[in-house]
C-alpha cells in the first residue's frame, strides 16, 4: 500500500507496477524512461517486437520508420500485424496498433526507407536508435551516424535458429570494428534463403530492448557481441576489442554518410528498376545462384544470373548491377535485392 501512495505521488501510471518493482528501475527509472525518445528503423520481425515491448514499457516517444507493406508471409513472426493488415503500411499499422496499447507514449511513423540522405532528418534529437533493419548497408549508415552524433544504437540480427545483439556506444567497439570489410555480395545468408524460426526475432528483440532500457536509464550495457542458437542450445558473448584503427569509431571517417557511396537506384525507361551497389568488386554469380532458394527459372552464365521471384524478374550482372523487372517501385526492388542477394 505504501508503494501505491509512492507511485501516485510522483504521477507514474499503475500500468508499470511490475516494472517499477525491479530494484534497479524503481519510480525514478520509470520516469527517466518516459522522458526518452527512441527512433526504430525497420518494422519487420525485429521491429514489431521491439516497438511492442518499448511502448508497453512506457518509453516517452518512439518513431517507427519503414517503407514496406504487410504481406501474408510476414504474419508468422511480425507480431503487430493481422490478416486484415495485408497490403497496409507496416510503420503506420504498427503505430495505430500500439496507440491502442499505450496512449501515454508519443508514437510517430514514417513510410520511407532510411538512407544516408535522410538519417539526420529521421534520427536527430533522439536518445537511442534501435535496429529493426534487414541489411548491412543500412546498419552501416546507422553505425556511422550513431558514432558521429554520439547517439547509441542497438544492433540486432536473426538467421535460421539464431540471433545476435550488440550495443554500440560512442567509445566503441562499433559495427565496423566487427565488420571492417563489407562481405561480398551473396556471402551472407539471408532469412529468405535460410529461413527464420519465429521465436528468434522475439528473443533477439527482447535482448535488444533490455539493452535499450539499460542505456536509457544510465546502466552499463552488455559488452561484446551476443550470439545464440536456440536450436543448438548455444549462447556466446564474443568480447572483441575496439580497433583503434577502425575507420568509424577510431578515425571518425564516416564514409557511409557520404551520399556518393550510396547505392544508386534508378527507374529505367522500360518500367524496371536498376540498382548499382556501391563498391567496385565483381559478383560471384555461381555462388549467389547456389544459395538462392524459393526462386524460379534460375539461369546462370559467366556474365549474368537470372531468376524470378514474387512475380518479378531479377537479373544480376558480373559488375554487381541488378535489374528488377515487374515493378516500378524502387523500394520493392531494393527489398528484393536485400532479401535474395544478401546485402
Amino acid at each position: 500500500m505504501k508503494f501505491w501512495k509512492k507511485t501516485r505521488k510522483v504521477n507514474v501510471s499503475s500500468r508499470y507496477d511490475k516494472q517499477i518493482l525491479i530494484g534497479d528501475i524503481g519510480v525514478s527509472g520509470q520516469k527517466v524512461l518516459s522522458s526518452k525518445k527512441v527512433a526504430l528503423i525497420g518494422c519487420g520481425a525485429l521491429g514489431t517486437n521491439i516497438a511492442n515491448l518499448m511502448v508497453r514499457a512506457g518509453v516517452g516517444e518512439i518513431f517507427l520508420v519503414d517503407r514496406d507493406f504487410v504481406e501474408l508471409g510476414n504474419l508468422h513472426r511480425q507480431v503487430l500485424f493481422s490478416e486484415t493488415d495485408i497490403g497496409k503500411s507496416k510503420s503506420e499499422t504498427a503505430a495505430l496498433k500500439l496507440k491502442a496499447v499505450n496512449s501515454e507514449v508519443n508514437i510517430k511513423f514514417l513510410i520511407r526507407d532510411m538512407m544516408s540522405s535522410n538519417i539526420s532528418e529521421i534520427a536527430k534529437g533522439y536518445d537511442l536508435i534501435m535496429d529493426g533493419t534487414d541489411n548491412i548497408p543500412t546498419r552501416m549508415i546507422i553505425n556511422d551516424y550513431s558514432i558521429k552524433e554520439s547517439i547509441p544504437w542497438v544492433y540486432g540480427g536473426v538467421l535460421g535458429t539464431g540471433g545476435m545483439v550488440m550495443t554500440i556506444v560512442e567509445d566503441g567497439p562499433c559495427l565496423r570494428c566487427l565488420l571492417p570489410d563489407l562481405p561480398e555480395q551473396g556471402d551472407i545468408p539471408t532469412c529468405e534463403t535460410m529461413g527464420v524460426l519465429n521465436t528468434i526475432p522475439a528473443v533477439t528483440a527482447a535482448v535488444q530492448v533490455t539493452e535499450a532500457f539499460k542505456i536509457l536509464m544510465g546502466k552499463d550495457p552488455m559488452k561484446g557481441l551476443l550470439q545464440f542458437d536456440l536450436w543448438g542450445n548455444n549462447f556466446t558473448i564474443h568480447e572483441f576489442m575496439k580497433d583503434p584503427q577502425c575507420e568509424c569509431c577510431g578515425k571518425k571517417d564516416f564514409i557511409y554518410l557520404n551520399e556518393d557511396n550510396e547505392e544508386i537506384v534508378t527507374a529505367l525507361c522500360d518500367g524496371s528498376i536498376q540498382i548499382i551497389p556501391s563498391g567496385t568488386s565483381e559478383a560471384d554469380l555461381k555462388l549467389i545462384a547456389g544459395k538462392l532458394k524459393g526462386v524460379e527459372n534460375l539461369k546462370v552464365n559467366p556474365f549474368r544470373l537470372e531468376f524470378e521471384v514474387e512475380g518479378k524478374k531479377v537479373t544480376i550482372f558480373k559488375d554487381r548491377r541488378v535489374i528488377v523487372k515487374g515493378t516500378n517501385d524502387k523500394g520493392i526492388a531494393r527489398s528484393i535485392y536485400s532479401k535474395f542477394i544478401g546485402l
Partner: protein
C-alpha cells in the same frame, strides 16, 4: 599445434602455420564469416601475414543480417 576454434580444442599440423592456411585449407566453406583471433577481429588484408601459435583462440562468427 593445439588451437581453439569457437571454444573447441583442435589439433592441427604444424605445417599449417598461418591463419590464411588454416582458413583456406581446413575451413573451405567459411566464406563471409567474421574471423576473430584472440579477441581481435582480423581484417581480410591481414590474414596472410598472421602466424598461428599454440593456444591461439579463433572465433568464426556468421554475421546475421536478417531482421
Amino acid at each position: 599445434m593445439k588451437i581453439f576454434v569457437n571454444g573447441k580444442e583442435k589439433i592441427i599440423s604444424d605445417k599449417i602455420s598461418s591463419l590464411h592456411g588454416f582458413i583456406g585449407i581446413i575451413l573451405k566453406n567459411e566464406k563471409g564469416k567474421i574471423i576473430e583471433l584472440n579477441g581481435k577481429v582480423v581484417k581480410k588484408g591481414e590474414i596472410e601475414g598472421i602466424s598461428l601459435k599454440d593456444g591461439d583462440r579463433i572465433e568464426l562468427i556468421q554475421f546475421m543480417g536478417g531482421g
